[in-house]
């Protein structure tokens, strides 16, 4: 986050500030956030060294298989996961479904993912995330999308990838896109930044801030398609500050072992010897889907605008 933002002057404790929301994501850096659908899976994730878990009813691979409308999870199920672990618990709301987000805040989740993996509730507007105490993470396929989400109050961004495919190709595409657009901004002069803001369809102030910092003003994680320790390390070497793993863990042959291996490979993302060592004997990876074969209607990354 920007260290130049002014400090509040109030003497009494303030909750829900941009600093504590963005600061929470800073504490997750270098870590792995795992999708879990039961308290037992949450414990496996925590045992493996996950920095947080994402509580949801079905992992994206099952949402793809089952079809139908995918919604916020049952509050009892989220409560069960909150009780099972001591690490932060995130949960997903549908895009634009601010009442689901209100419910998640009331349940006391630590982060809300306004997620394209669920069926969108509003095809024009995302939720106004400034209205919440609980921080939000949102997906993005490019820099303009990331900055629009930040303008709406997102305190953390994840590249979207293509969830539930076990195929890292879209995660790579989106991370490269965001990072290269950031690099390009740093080469522009002040006059050109106005035109860049127009092209990006993003507020000029945020565009200027990114150009100055050389990074987003919030933490950038990768998501959508990570299935192996090497996938996680790849995303880290491409500039992700941490990794979400969805179906890749619990749709594999040995979730506990694979989860621990992905955690270690994320910390030692630049050390091929460690990645080689942890990649041995993991059993079957999730089968995966070729993204070229996905019909447009099944591409979650196209949801959100």
């Amino acid at each position: 986050m920007s260290t130049a933002s002014p400090l509040p002057s109030s003497d009494s404790p303030e909750t829900g500030t941009a600093r504590v929301k963005r600061g929470m994501a800073e504490q997750l850096k270098g870590g792995v956030i795992m999708d879990v659908v039961t308290p037992d899976q949450a414990k496996i994730a925590e045992d493996a060294g996950a920095v947080a878990v994402m509580a949801l009813e079905r992992v994206p691979a099952d949402i793809r298989r089952d079809g139908g409308v995918a919604r916020m999870s049952d509050p009892d199920m989220i409560d069960g996961i909150i009780k099972a672990v001591s690490i932060p618990v995130m949960a997903k709301s549908r895009i634009g479904h601010f009442v689901e987000a209100q419910v998640l805040q009331a349940l006391g989740v630590d982060y809300i993912d306004e997620s394209e993996v669920l069926t969108p509730a509003d095809e024009v507007n995302h939720s106004d995330k400034w209205a919440f105490t609980t921080p939000f993470v949102c997906g993005a396929t490019n820099l303009g999308e990331a900055l629009r989400r930040i303008a709406e109050g997102a305190a953390m961004i994840r590249s979207k990838g293509e969830a539930g495919t076990g195929n890292v190709v879209e995660a790579v595409r989106h991370m490269r896109q965001i990072r290269s657009e950031i690099r390009r901004l740093t080469t522009l002069d002040d006059t050109e930044l106005y035109a860049a803001a127009k092209e990006l369809r993003a507020p000029y102030e945020l565009v200027k801030e990114v150009a100055t910092l050389g990074k987003l003003p919030v933490v950038l994680f990768s998501a959508g398609g990570v299935a192996t320790p090497a996938d996680a390390a790849l995303m880290m070497q491409l500039g992700a500050e941490g990794v979400f793993v969805g179906s890749g863990i619990f749709k594999s042959g040995d979730p506990a072992k694979r989860a621990a291996a992905v955690v270690k490979a994320t910390t030692f993302y630049d050390d091929p010897d460690v990645i080689a060592k942890v990649s041995r004997g993991l059993g079957e990876a999730m089968v995966g889907i070729n993204c070229d074969e996905l019909p447009e209607s099944q591409r979650y990354a196209n949801r959100g605008w």
Partner: protein, 201 residues
């Protein structure tokens, strides 16, 4: 100690970049530490904010825990914020059953004591040993110090609100710990205090 001490930041997980920037601004030469060999080259160590159970897990898995304990026992200065405070506590409450700490400060620290993320807050903190008015305390799912032993000195307590009076900063010799995150504020006074502690060894 040289004018520019070499200070490592434990880089298993967490807000390593913010601590590194604050230490550099406070006059230290900064290196990340993930391996036993890297620990040998530093004069002092910062334990960043992050998820303490993850740090504990990785420190054990990569054989760092005992070397860290040996360096601390041998008098290496260390500063921990939030999860780092937990790592420096001799005893913790509300941790995982298998959660290891490095230890060093004679204190009992309660993990996530202030509550979940919705309870995370900012408030001014009067910190003994730091001039120029209160520091800005950023508390994120923060721990507090339940009690301190005779050798540890309380530097700060929460000034107001529901947790008024709780201990949130402690020093014991060359070891410093805060519940809050000065690395997120752009105010480098706490890191300057630590760099001075390292220089004066």
């Amino acid at each position: 100690m040289s004018a520019t001490p070499v200070i490592g930041v434990l880089a298993l997980q967490g807000d390593v970049r913010e601590h590194s920037a604050a230490l550099a601004a406070a006059g230290a030469s900064v290196v990340p530490v993930r391996r036993v060999g890297e620990l040998a080259g530093v004069d002092a160590l910062v334990l960043p904010g992050g998820e303490s159970t993850t740090m504990s897990n990785l420190a054990v898995a990569f054989g760092l825990l005992e070397p860290l304990r040996e360096r601390i026992a041998a008098g290496m200065p260390a500063y921990g914020s939030c999860a780092g405070m937990i790592m420096l506590a001799d005893k913790i409450l509300d941790g995982r059953d298998d959660q290891e700490t490095i230890g060093g400060i004679d204190m009992i620290v309660r993990r996530n004591a202030f509550g979940r993320q919705n309870d995370s807050f900012e408030a001014p903190v009067d910190l003994a040993g730091v001039d120029g008015g209160p520091v800005h305390g950023v508390f994120i799912r923060a721990p507090w110090v339940e009690s301190v032993g005779a050798r540890a000195e309380v530097l700060a307590r929460v000034g107001s609100g529901p947790a008024e009076g709780r201990v949130v900063a402690v020093r014991q010799g060359p070891l410093l710990a805060t519940s809050f995150h000065p690395e997120l504020t752009g105010d480098h006074r706490v890191h300057r205090l630590f760099v001075e502690m390292v220089r004066s060894r």
